[in-house]
Structure formats: structure tokens, C-alpha cells
């Protein structure tokens, strides 16, 4: 099956009200081209699961400013003042989850695990309403798996089968986000021949990737800028 799509094509896999799992840590490892396309679409009432909401007017911050988002689930939104303001104005619902719990919950979503008991956040406000359980004398809270409708991820290289490798810490949440949605779209810097990626080095095996879109951003002085 040919997985390569033009950037305009992937949008048909996203519906109003969908829950999107989006890779990235701040602006690093963020699918900028895919985000631009969603911003330019008529899609609305989306929920985003991502560590941050980008920066003001950048990355996922664009979707916020374009009023595409009803809800954001993640660990750190304070670096985008627009997100804070949208929350204050009642325009954006926010669910805050510790960063490690977020990563693990999405991993579980992709791994057929329903939930897990974690040490993190025991005895805090973020544990309110959550089941506490003592295992081997230690207290844990129950966290449920997170799954999405569509995952938007960013990798460095893909082969035509959809195997992925990442650029340094641009890896971050992308490999787990790739596992936990019905449809997974990977934006990549480069597409290489099948067999060019070392089997021991492949981080995301192709079973997880439904479609590949070539990025319309290029790196200049270490920062991605639009190429067109």
C-alpha cells in the first residue's frame, strides 16, 4: 500500500470533534505542516492530547488561535500565554496530567493496557478523584489509558513502508503517539528507500504508520522555517 500523501490529502481522515494525539515537546518534534493544514481547514471542536500547546501563534498555538480546539490534555500549558487566556475566558477546557503519566497513558493506549498504577502525583491535587491502591506497601494511583482518533506525529526519516527514525530529542512523545490512534499520519523531513534504515535503529516500525506526508518546513540555523 502506498502511504505517501500530499499535505492536502490527509485532512480527510480528520473529523469535527476528533481527539488528536500530537507529538512534540515545545516546538521540537512537532508536525508543523500537518498543523498548518488543520488550521486552514474547516475542522472544529477538536481535542488535542499533547505535552504543550506550542508557543503563542506557533505549532499547536496556531490551532488554538484559529479556534479549532475545545479541549487540551497535556502536562505544561503555561509557556503559551494564549492557552492560559483561553482557559481563563472559558474557551478552552484543560486537563493537566504529569508528563510521565501522560507518556505512559498513551503508551498503554497503544499497547492494549487499560490502565496502570503509578507512584507519580500520589497525595496531590492531580490525584483527586483517582483510585489509590497500596501495592507491596507503597501507594499508587490508577491512571487510565489514553487513545485518540488521529495521531499527528513528526519524524526525521521514513522509508516507503512507514518505518520511522527521529532527530535527537525530537523523538520525545512521537513514538508513543504513533501507537494509540485509529489513523496515524507522520510528517517527515526525508523519505528514504526501503532497506536504508537499519532494522536495529528503527524506532517506530511501519505497522504503526498509516500515512506519510513530506514536511513543508526546512531547518535553517537549527530552526524549522516554512519552505513555501
Amino acid at each position: 500500500m502506498e502511504k505517501l500523501l500530499e499535505k492536502e490529502e490527509f485532512i480527510k481522515f480528520v473529523k469535527d470533534g476528533d481527539k488528536l494525539l500530537v507529538g512534540g515537546f515545545g516546538m521540537s518534534g512537532t508536525p508543523l505542516t500537518l498543523i498548518d493544514e488543520i488550521a486552514a481547514s474547516s475542522l472544529k471542536n477538536l481535542t488535542v492530547v499533547s505535552n504543550n500547546l506550542g508557543e503563542p501563534g506557533k505549532g499547536l498555538g496556531i490551532l488554538l488561535n484559529e479556534k479549532k480546539l475545545n479541549k487540551a490534555i497535556g502536562s505544561y500549558f503555561t509557556t503559551n500565554r494564549d492557552a492560559v487566556q483561553a482557559w481563563v475566558d472559558g474557551e478552552l477546557e484543560i486537563e493537566l496530567i504529569p508528563q510521565g503519566t501522560l507518556a505512559e497513558a498513551v503508551r498503554c493506549g497503544g499497547a492494549g493496557i487499560g490502565g496502570f498504577y503509578t507512584k507519580t502525583a500520589v497525595g496531590t491535587k492531580l490525584a483527586e478523584g483517582k483510585e489509590v491502591r497500596v501495592i507491596e506497601g507503597e501507594r499508587f494511583i490508577l491512571e487510565k489509558a489514553i487513545k485518540g482518533d488521529v495521531s499527528l506525529i513528526k519524524a526525521h526519516k521514513a522509508d516507503h513502508l512507514g518505518n520511522l527514525v527521529y532527530d535527537h530529542t525530537g523523538r520525545n512523545f512521537n513514538p508513543v503517539m504513533a501507537t494509540a490512534s485509529k489513523v496515524v499520519i507522520a510528517e517527515v523531513d526525508e523519505i528514504v528507500k526501503n532497506g536504508e534504515l537499519n532494522p536495529s535503529e528503527i524506532v517506530t516500525p511501519h505497522v504503526y504508520v498509516d500515512y506519510i506526508v513530506k514536511s513543508h518546513y526546512v531547518k535553517k540555523a537549527g530552526v524549522f522555517v516554512a519552505s513555501d
Binding site: 504529569p98 508528563q99 510521565g100 496531590t124 530529542t169
Partner: protein, 216 residues
């Protein structure tokens, strides 16, 4: 707070760290530590997916896909490894980080930490704070003794939201070093020319001390 006091705290914490230890440095004062290590080599973990974080690169070597958890460009030391966020927090939560050095809003006299939210303000960021508190083998708190408003940061009971039940091991301020043992805060060392009466006065928390330290 004077930068000189922040540097004093960082330098004193360096004495607590051992060659080769795996350390996660929080934001604020902890980020000063790499500048004062001297000959000591640490292995720095960055929770966005790197073990073996090196110093800031020169401008022409910046790659914004090689960044710290504070989103600043970094380099990799020899022997560094890269991994995803779920594996990074498995490392943190699973007890594989020797020491986390954390800034705090408050720490109480049992060692419980508040470092993610201020009451009455919007609570929209927690990041990896609670995972580090729950998972690091040793927690060293780096903090100035009093807040900008002159209020004690070492308190009897937290008035800010807790970061978890797991207690800190040590707190270092510009005036003193305290350790936490069996739920009690104990003075280890005085770092300034402050008198013990004065230290008690500006410290909200109750602490134990002995005359060897106060007369040193």
C-alpha cells in the same frame, strides 16, 4: 535575590554530588550547577529524552531538535543516549536517577515539596515535577531562604499545593543546609554569618540543631 546567593547555593550543592552520578536538574538555581562542577563529571538526564546532556552549542551548531527540558539548545556528551518520553519517565519514576536537584515554591519541615502551583493562580503546568519527586533516589532542594515578598520558603506546613508525598532529603539555601530524617528537619551547616536566633526567626519550619554547628 542576588545572583551571588544563587551561585553560593549551586556551589554548595555541587559538594553533595559525586563523580559519575546521574542527575536531573530542575529549572532555576539547579541550572547553575554545571558551571561550578570543576573537575567533577556528572551524567545529566533531560526528561525530554536524553541521558548525557552537554553544554550549550556554538550558534552554528544549534539544532532545535536537540534541546533540554527547558527548551534550550544543548549538545551530547560522549556516551549519551536518546530515547522517547515514555522510556525517559520509566527511567525517572523507576528509581534510576541518582539525584534530582529541584527548585521549590515551598518545602515543609518533613521535607514535602510544593513546586508546581500557586494557590489562586491558574494551574496549567506541572511538567515532569511530580515524576521527579516520586522517582529520583535522592532529592536535593535548591532554594533561596525567603520569597520575594520576604516570606519563608521553609515552612511548618505547605500552603501551596504539594508535589507528592515523597519527601526531600536535603535543602540548601544561601543561609544553611538542612537534612530531613524521620520526618524531622535538622540543621547540618550554616553557610552565612547569620546567628542561629536569626536563622530560626526567618525560617518558618521548626528544625533541630546542636551547638557544634551553631558555634562552628
Amino acid at each position: 535575590m542576588h545572583q551571588i546567593d544563587r551561585i553560593k547555593i549551586a556551589k554548595r550543592i555541587v559538594q553533595e554530588l559525586k563523580q559519575g552520578q546521574v542527575v536531573n536538574l530542575g529549572v532555576g538555581i539547579p541550572t547553575l550547577i554545571p558551571d561550578y562542577l570543576g573537575e567533577k563529571k556528572l551524567v545529566l538526564q533531560s526528561e525530554n529524552g536524553l541521558l548525557g546532556m552537554g553544554p550549550t552549542p556554538s550558534a552554528e551548531k544549534v539544532n532545535m531538535d536537540l534541546i533540554s527540558a527547558s527548551k534550550a539548545p544543548i549538545t551530547m556528551e560522549i556516551g549519551a543516549s536518546l530515547f522517547d518520553s515514555s522510556n525517559s519517565f520509566a527511567m525517572i519514576r523507576g528509581g534510576h536517577i541518582d539525584v534530582a536537584v529541584l527548585g521549590v515554591l515551598q518545602v515543609d519541615q518533613t521535607g514535602e515539596i510544593a513546586n508546581w502551583a500557586v494557590p489562586g493562580q491558574t494551574i496549567l503546568g506541572v511538567g515532569g515535577a511530580m515524576d521527579l519527586v516520586a522517582g529520583a533516589n535522592k532529592i536535593i532542594v535548591a532554594t533561596v531562604h525567603s520569597s520575594k515578598n520576604g516570606e519563608p520558603k521553609l515552612v511548618k506546613e505547605l500552603t501551596f499545593p504539594s508535589s507528592g508525598n515523597r519527601k526531600a532529603d536535603l535543602v540548601v539555601s544561601e543561609h544553611a543546609v538542612f537534612k530531613f530524617e524521620d520526618g524531622t528537619m535538622k540543621l547540618v551547616e550554616i553557610l552565612s554569618d547569620i546567628r542561629i536566633e536569626e536563622l530560626i526567626e526567618i525560617t518558618g519550619a521548626d528544625f533541630e540543631y546542636n551547638s557544634e554547628i551553631t558555634n562552628a
